[in-house]
Amino acid sequence: MKISRRRALVAGTAGVVGAAVGAAAGQTPEQAARAKDPTKVQGPTGTDIGARSPFEKPKRLSLTDRRTSTLTPLQDLDGIITPADLHFERHHAGVPAIDPKTYSLLIHGMVERPVVFTLDDLRRFPGRSVIRFIECSGNGGRAYRKEGNQTDQTPQQLDGLTSTSEWTGVPLATLFREVGASPKAKWFLAEGGDAAVMTRSIPIAKAFEDAMIVYGQNGEPLRPEQGYPARLLLPGVEGNASIKWIRRIEVADQPFMTREETSKYTDPLPDGIARIFSLDMDAKSLITEPTFPDKLTGPGWWEIRGIAWTGRGKIAHVDVSTDGGKTWQRAKLDDPVLPKCHTRFRLPFEWKGGEATLMSRATDETGYTQPTYDVLLAARGPATAYHFNNIRAWKVMADGSVKFAGGGA
């Protein structure tokens, strides 16, 4: 599927490059034509560090001047892996500069042997690589709140606080066995080495389920903004709890009730209570193509593409509607369908001209189905602050342009 937005970008950049090549003085028209033909000119040779084609310029986006978060350009990505330099960011006190030679992780508290691990120590343990998403619990707030009425928004603006990487590290269970975590322990505190010295309490069951201390991301060391040199990874859990730049873990009998897990990342509910430790991310999907600002250049066959994920295992199926939710068709899921991981879905779409409203709806292996806006609103209330996984809609206009069409009040 070639969409006019991308064509425009390619044409613009190619024009600049072509002009530069053609500007060489004293060329005959034949020489100039040859210079522009890649089959008639030797190309540049190998480089130490690769770079994207000059025709491709994906960028993260910050919605505020403070830049405490930046969003992944979901509409520019294929497959399920997010390039490391495009993984979304959320910092609570900026990105610390940590020397891997002086980095250490202390594990103490209700353990038999409090131990300090260097980065080399962590890398010596039997390791593991997994492909898992990380999503900020505030992701999608714009689609839920009043901004949902704005039609000219991209998937990046609406939902760009989710990314998927291959993460490599050591299971936290291995480290907890190493230090002899007490059978009486119920929680652990994870603490970061940033200026927020950010802390979250996590049920210890998660450590023995699938938590990891990771040092690798997509085959290379973590990016600084992703926690270099090591971070906690809690698959399927709201992103802030996967503490970056992790420096200390304290094993305990009760939660520490830190600022983040009480006054911030909690979910007030309509019946006068607030949900605390609402860690797991519910199933969600979103269409990434065609979306604003795409424009279908004519009637005919197109492919609806998107990603689906759940913090509770694997995606079971994704249904797509092209008539605003009246009828649904089962989308094809690309292999591999991994637990707690972005899953790519696709559905051929014959656009006959005229208006069409596109929606996607994910169901996970627990039987949970992504709710409509009205269902989520009834459960959570209009002023809730996190976990916005309601169905999103995109409207193909009669002229082929695509607008965001819902999720908001």
């Binding site: 269970a173 010295v197 304290e250």
Partner: protein, 221 residues
């Protein structure tokens, strides 16, 4: 793997490390075989607390890492729990807190804890029934939404002031805690905060917080 670098300088290290890891893998196999079935997958303390768990002394460690000393743990272990564990010696009054606040906090948090660029700290309005889910105009403050007073001490000590994080002395943090709790009408104007009094403060929102009850399945909660 940094521990097994093939560079010449690291060659001897890599041999030694390889021996260690081989031994460790043997130990791991023995350990796994020695354990009863649910031990590896089950969290220590969950359900079958009596079963041989990987978190007990019966598990043989790899021996990677070095023992932490009590002093280095003490130096980095700054957290404070709701029951007061972790609170340092020291004390502070509301009046002392007002002075510290004016000097170090007010430029971002505003006079009397409200009305400036950073989070509003003071305010008691939570609506008729803790209406934060229904009324977007309600502001979550220390007085209206923080369930534990110890959290304020912990966070202020670790991360504030924003431009000089982690520089407040315990007495200053106790004083600031007393001052902000007083502005929120949770403690009286003559209150003194220390390791004994602070954990006894009962916050207005304490009983509003409930553990997550979502578990997947067909019902949206």
């Amino acid at each position: 793997m940094a521990g097994f670098g093939l560079q010449a300088a690291g060659y001897r290290t890599s041999i030694r490390a390889a021996i260690v890891i081989t031994a460790a893998l043997v130990v791991a196999v023995i350990t796994t075989h020695a354990q009863t079935k649910p031990a590896v997958a089950k969290p220590a303390g969950a359900g079958t607390a009596k079963a041989a768990s990987p978190g007990t002394a019966k598990a043989v460690p790899y021996g990677i890492g070095r023992a932490a000393t009590p002093d280095e743990i003490k130096a980095i272990d700054i957290d404070v729990m709701p029951d007061g564990r972790g609170l340092p010696p020291g004390r502070g009054t509301v009046a002392e807190g007002a002075a510290v606040y004016a000097a170090k906090c007010q430029s971002c948090h505003g006079k009397d804890g409200a009305g400036a660029s950073a989070d509003r700290l003071v305010g008691t309005d939570s609506g008729p029934n803790f209406n934060f889910a229904m009324d977007a105009k309600l502001v979550k403050t220390v007085g209206s939404y923080w369930p534990y007073a110890t959290t304020f001490f912990d966070y202020t000590q670790r991360a504030m002031p924003f431009n000089q994080p982690g520089t407040l002395a315990p007495n200053e943090t106790y004083a600031l805690t007393a001052y902000i709790l007083s502005l929120n009408k949770i403690v009286p104007a003559d209150a003194v905060m220390d390791a004994t009094t602070l954990p006894k403060v009962v916050m207005p929102s304490k009983n509003r917080f409930v553990m997550d009850n979502r578990k997947g399945g067909p019902i949206v909660k």
